[in-house]
Every structure is written in C-alpha cells, then in structure tokens.
C-alpha cells in the first residue's frame, strides 16, 4: 500500500534521470551529426573508440578534477570555519546569517559576469588595487597556468555558504551538554573541535563533500560566462566540452558519448570517496 505513495515520485525521478541515461546509451552507438543530416545511423563503437583516443576528453577530465578537488577542499575548510562562526552567539545573528548565505542564493550566471568585471585586466577593481599599490596589472583571466584558480575562487565564493549551511545544521544537532562536559574536563577549544565536533560532524561533512563533488564535476555555466573555456582551453570542463559538441557542433552521437564518459568519471570518484570513508571506519574499528 505504502509503495503506491512512492510511485509517482519515483516515476518522475526515473523519467528525469534514467531515461536520459538510456537514451545516451543508445545515441552513443550512433553517428548523429550534420554529416548524417542529424539522422542517427548505427556506427558500432566508433564514438567510444574516439572517446578513448580523444586527448581533449582526458585533458578536460583532468582539468575538471583539478577544479573540483581544489574547490571542494577550500569549500569544506571555509565552510567549516563559517559554520563554527555562525554557530556562536552573534549580535544580529539573523542578519549576519542572511548576508553570509546571500552569495549562494544569487544565480551563478549573474555573479560569473560580476567576477569577469572584478577580474578585468586592466580596469577591474582588483587590478585597480594592484596598481594603487604600485604593482603591475595581472591578467587574472588570461594566464593558462593560473586562470583556473580564479574560476575556483568564484565557485568557492558562491557555494561555501551552502556547505556552511549543511555543517551548521550538523552543529546544531550536537547537544550542548557534551560540549559543556568536555569544557569542564578542561579541554580547550581546539581539543573540543577535534574530539567532539569533528567526529559528530563527519556524516555532514561527507554529505557536503559528496554533493559538492558531484556538482563541481558538472561545472558549466560559471565557466561558460567567466572564461568561455579559455585561455587555451585551460579552464574547459567536461560539461562544457559535451555542450559544445551538442549545441555548437551538432554532433549528438559524440556528445552523448562524452556525457556517459563524464558520468563514469563522477561515478568512479563517488565510489572512491565512499570506499575511502568505509576504509577509514574499518581502520578506526580495528584500532584499540
């Protein structure tokens, strides 16, 4: 009986997630591009062979991982700090929380253009600051070696509040008596953090990490607006490459293959994170 209540939701979820994957599976075995007049023609595994030999796919995969890895690390770190701060009794706490959450509530495309202006060389305010300090202007968005760092900056600015929010919820679930008891034992703030807060926060950290990892691996609109993949494709992500193939090149067979390839990367990484978590737990149980 209760299963009937579940069905409508599950059906919609399946329609939105499962159907596209099946469709991509089929499309990835077809040639469907301007060269076939957009008519799907089976081409065996040609798309998959192309994917394996496509240096750009692997380069983009590495760049996407680089972006996601650093974003995730910074967001967890800053998010934790922010959550600890917001958990304290603050003057006008409601207003402070709202202000801190605001970057998360603004659409990505909106602030991506804002960042493009802030990072503008030579007229943006950051370069204005450098110049007023007597330093030369810096091409924040034109150096292949460093531009990706500024895409990370924009992402961290936008999504740290979300991580902080999740962690704040976790902090509020920790009974304050426990903290009090530790304090009476003479534990300092650092020790309380390590011995009490972090272990109890672990599931929230894991959840935040998994969420953010998946979304960061799918980074799309931020980069499209901020750098347009450049310079020298040094900020191109897998999602952008797939989008390019679908909407600009009209090569749907290969776009579908790229999307499945990306899905495989995400799946592999999530499995890795969960595995590491399980392993850590096992080791902790074995320890005396």
């Amino acid at each position: 009986m209760a299963i009937l209540l579940l069905l409508p939701a599950l059906a919609l979820v399946a329609g939105v997630f499962l159907w596209p994957l099946l469709r991509y599976g089929w499309l990835s075995l077809q040639a469907s591009s301007v060269l076939t007049g957009l008519v799907p023609v089976p081409n065996g595994g040609a798309n998959w062979q192309r994917l394996l030999a496509d240096g750009r796919f692997w380069q983009d995969a590495a760049q996407t991982l680089r972006f996601a890895g650093l974003s995730l690390a910074l967001e967890l770190l800053l998010g934790l700090a922010l959550a600890l701060l917001l958990h304290r009794p603050l003057p006008r706490r409601g207003l402070v929380r709202a202000v801190v959450l605001l970057p998360w509530a603004l659409p990505t495309t909106v602030m991506a253009l804002g960042w493009r202006w802030i990072l503008n060389d030579p007229f943006g305010p950051l370069n204005g600051l450098l110049q007023s300090l007597g330093l030369p202007a810096y091409g924040f968005l034109s150096q292949p070696a460093t531009t990706w760092l500024f895409t990370v900056l924009a992402d961290v600015w936008k999504t740290t509040p979300f991580v902080a929010l999740l962690l704040l919820a976790g902090l509020q679930a920790i009974p304050s008596e426990l903290e009090e008891a530790l304090r009476l034992e003479g534990a300092g703030p650092w020790q309380r953090l390590r011995r009490l807060t972090l272990p109890l926060l672990a599931p929230y950290l894991l959840l935040a990490a998994l969420f953010r990892l998946a979304q960061a691996l799918g980074v799309f609109d931020l980069i499209q607006v901020l750098t347009g993949s450049g310079p020298a494709s040094s900020t191109e992500s897998l999602a952008l490459y797939a989008y390019l193939n679908a909407m600009r090149f009209l090569d749907f067979g290969y776009a579908a293959t790229l999307m499945l390839g990306m899905f495989a990367v995400v799946l592999g990484l999530s499995a890795l994170v969960l595995l590491a978590q399980a392993l850590r737990r096992r080791l902790a149980e074995m320890a005396p």
Partner: protein, 271 residues
C-alpha cells in the same frame, strides 16, 4: 577566541563582490574605465536602472517568471515528495535502504548532463516555451533530495504518535494532514526553500527549453542582458540587474534563514 575579526572577514568576503556590483550599477560606462582617485567625483548615474526596468520586456517580468516557475516546482515537488517520504519510511529496511541509496545517487548526479535528452523529451511532448512545463524537470531533479530530507524528518517522529491516531480511527489522509504534517513544518519549509532556490538558479534546462523572450527566467535573462548590447559589455546595466535580481533573494533568505537551518537539522543525514 574573539569573534569580531572572523566575523568581519566573513562579511567582507560575502559582501565585497556584491558591493562592487552595486557601485558598478551606479556608474556610467565612461566612468568605469577612468583611473585614479579623481575618477570617483564624476560619472554617477541611475541610467542603468532605468535601462533595465524599461527594457522590453521589463525586468520584473523575468522576476515574475522565475517566481512562477519556482513556486510551481516547489509545489509539485512537495506534493509528490511528502507522500513518497511517508511511503518510503513505511517500507521494509532493506527496500528502504535500497531506494534511499538510489535517491542519494540521483541527488548527487551532475544534472547538467541531462539537458540534451531533456531537450529531446521537451520536443517529443511539445513542452518547449511552456513556462509551467519547466516545473516537471525541476521537480524531478529536486525530488531525490526532497524525499530524503522529508523521510529523515518522518523517521524522527515517534511511531506511537501515528499509532495513537490510527486507533482513534483517522485514515491515512487525516493522519498526515492533522497529526504528522504540522510537526514536519520546519522540515517542509527548508525543503521548499532548497527546491525554490534550485529552480531560481537553474540555467542549462531553462536555456534550452525556453526561447521566447517574455518567458525567460532570471538566470537566462541575465546571461542574455550580458550579451544584448553592442556597446561594450554593459557592466553597469548588468550590475543593476544583479542588484534588482538579488533583492528578493536577500528578503527571502533574511525571513527564512532560521527555517532553512532548523529544517536541515531535522535529521537529514541520520537515516
């Protein structure tokens, strides 16, 4: 540990880029490229706001579209998620675990991958350029997280509560409506806000499903304002749009921040 300094840092970090947008929105294009301290004496204007508000269609139209889609998506999601969460909580543990795991996997899926197939779906069903039709993929994408959050909240309620209600002869609908839902209000509110913000933010699907100007949602309209003028990147007008588009959100977050946090606390991660 003193609070003032980190607090100041956090506020600066969050606000400074936004304040710069506010400042930019009040400057003429010529003033934006002036350098040196004397530049601040001139070039202030409200023209950017005028341009954005008097555009065709006017800016409030995009705000309205986004609110409409957001409300429809939130409503649809809750309508499906609340019974589903209840139903999920009533399953055998093994099945419940299995379904939860699948939902978790879906919730963490980088949904940008789906746009191409969803575009084909919209074509097959003639859902292109139907504002309310966007609520379907948005609800589908939000449901996994919504069901998980609400299921955890149901799990937190004492089982005796519903048993007592059942003994009193209340049917399922009455039990949900009169006993359970009022207790779940905070969790429902926070779920609703998460769903609303997701649809408020969503870009790739809105970009591909809507091509009519007067039906655009805010993120797509903003991206389009960015590229709608020959006259240099209209950073000023764009910044004005950011400010106008950000205000409703500021109000929303200001009013609901307590619910957002407390709703998540209701055991999102415990189950």
């Amino acid at each position: 540990m003193p609070t003032a300094l980190p607090l100041l840092a956090a506020l600066t970090w969050s606000l400074l880029p936004l304040l710069w947008q506010l400042l930019t929105s009040l400057r003429t294009p010529e003033a934006l490229v002036l350098q040196g301290p004397s530049a601040w004496l001139q070039g202030w204007t409200l023209a950017n706001y005028r341009q954005v508000l008097q555009g065709d269609p006017p800016f409030w139209r995009y705000l309205f579209n986004s609110c409409l889609v957001g409300a429809a998506s939130t409503g649809l999601t809750l309508l499906l998620a609340i019974p589903a969460a209840y139903g999920l909580q009533r399953q055998r543990p093994a099945l419940r675990g299995g379904i939860s795991l699948l939902l978790l996997a879906a919730a963490m899926f980088p949904y940008v991958l789906l746009f191409l197939a969803l575009l084909e779906l919209a074509r097959a069903l003639s859902w292109g350029n139907q504002l309310l039709a966007l609520a379907l993929p948005y609800a589908g994408l939000s449901l996994p997280l919504a069901v998980l959050l609400l299921r955890a909240a149901f799990a937190d309620l004492p089982a005796e509560l519903e048993d007592a209600a059942r003994l009193e002869g209340l049917n399922l609908w009455q039990r949900l409506h009169r006993v359970l839902l009022p207790l779940l209000a905070p969790a429902i509110a926070s779920t609703a806000i998460l769903v609303f913000l997701f649809s408020w933010n969503e870009y790739p699907i809105a970009l591909t499903w809507i091509s009519r100007n007067d039906l655009l949602t805010l993120p797509v309209a903003m991206a389009r304002i960015a590229g709608s003028s020959v006259y240099a990147v209209p950073y000023g007008a764009f910044a004005a749009a950011t400010v106008l588009g950000g205000l409703p959100l500021l109000a929303l977050v200001l009013v609901f921040q307590r619910q957002i946090v407390s709703g998540l606390t209701q055991g999102a991660v415990k189950g």
